[in-house]
Point group: C2
Chain length 270, copies 2
């Protein structure tokens, strides 16, 4: 079975897409062809969308539409399409207006602009911080870090730091624990003064070997032996040093980052 799903917005479409993905994921046996149509911000563009939707319906497969269009004229246009429509704003804004005892502002794209400039700058600052302090390259700014992720190479540190920055405005550095750092029972010198900021990532050694093999096939670095040795050593180190840690094997960067926020009780800056 296959159905077409559209996420339509006069802004970026991120809200419609995020909600749509979550809802469609509840129907595992259906394969959805998912299309995001952002910046549908004129009647002409809306009419093109309607034609596209109607063509699909006529071909026998009525499309599913998730939309977050705030402009009433554009929304009216889209509603003419022969589609199953999940109108996110219309559904929830009316009851919210009643609860808040106030009308809502229906400005085109309004909902998609991060109105809070300070919060936005915090995110961009944090991205720059993550880049400047990636992979143990610089260690002199660790006093300014909110958190320092530690773990073996390819355990998920860098993407998690970037996501923590983009999503939460958290300044996350990361330091790779390499063979030279392991086996002596102590933390690398660069980390010792910042023990309270450390958070460990580890990963199933077989998965690690698979990831490393994609990077450096058949190397010692990617060998199962080496991956077992390194992950065992870091996990012992985390435990000995009371460093909180997380196994990333089956987690996405979104999940790793969210769990880190929960476990460390860090306050988001964005």
């Amino acid at each position: 079975m296959k159905r077409q799903a559209f996420f339509i917005s006069d802004g970026t479409g991120i809200t419609a897409e995020t909600l749509g993905h979550s809802l469609l994921a509840q129907f595992e046996s259906i394969e959805f062809e998912q299309v995001t149509l952002p910046y549908i911000d004129s009647i002409t563009k809306a009419q093109e969308v309607v034609t596209r939707l109607n063509d699909l319906a006529q071909a026998g497969s009525r499309p599913i539409v998730f939309d977050t269009i705030v402009n009433q004229d554009i929304r009216d246009e889209i509603s003419k399409a022969d589609a199953f429509k999940v109108d996110i704003f219309a559904t929830f804004l009316a009851p919210l207006e009643k609860e808040l005892n106030m009308g809502s502002s229906y400005t085109v794209g309004k909902s998609h602009v991060g109105g809070d400039n300070k919060s936005y700058l915090a995110r961009i600052d944090a991205v720059n911080f993550a880049l400047d302090n990636d992979d143990g390259s610089k260690i002199k700014h660790y006093d300014k870090a909110d958190i320092i992720l530690v773990g073996v190479s390819r355990s998920g540190k860098t993407p998690s730091c970037l996501y923590l920055a983009l999503q939460f405005g958290i300044k996350a550095a990361n330091y790779p624990l390499t063979e030279e750092d392991l086996g002596n029972g102590d933390l690398p010198k660069a980390l010792q003064a910042h023990k309270h900021k450390l958070f460990g990532l580890t990963i199933d050694p077989e998965r690690l070997a698979a990831i490393r093999n994609e990077r450096k096939a058949n190397s010692r670095y990617a060998s199962l032996n080496q991956c077992y040795y390194e992950t065992e050593e870091v996990e012992m180190l985390f435990q000995r040093m009371n460093i909180p840690f997380l196994t990333t094997t089956d987690l996405s960067v979104e999940e790793i980052s969210t769990r880190i926020m929960v476990d460390t009780k860090l306050n988001r800056r964005a």
Copy 2:
């Protein structure tokens, strides 16, 4: 006016938070204190949340709750709270089930896991690509890039590349156009073979000067003169070379990235 809003989930809470932000942004005159509570995946945790919500209600401010809890028992527990509840899944899943003629799977956390491993790997690959090809540091992989962002320093290239990677799985490199590259009427050598992949970013010179001053206060680099010169030169270059470009002054990375996807008609890999 101030109201408390909670985004509650047994997964990461990203869906509830994204939708909640969008909806609350429509009420500009109310200040919302927004709290995300992810991984509420047990009755005990749910009971703690209910207590917290009831305390607020009793203090005179009924909280607003957006939830995407899929587990029925946990959802029932949360529903006991004295709160205005926007139940995202319950609202939309029933009509979707009818349209699709099929029950949905209510597994805890199901909706939050990116089930598509290939798509996830594409995102992580793209993040690594963006890091490896940031800031003109390496130019030998440009043949593997989906897009190369060009523009003056601090026009938004790096965060946009990272967002393109994380959100869309797009391999985006970036190359900073510095003073040495400008004024001679031609593209830097490293870019000439990849002209079809170039996308320009520019920015209002006064805004650019403000951003650069935060980085290097009172430098020539941050001076208004220099910022006017560089932005004028890059914009002339973009026009002369027929490079599509975007002014990033008032745009978030989400908006810059989405507009790039629309303008270039790039296909997402995630």
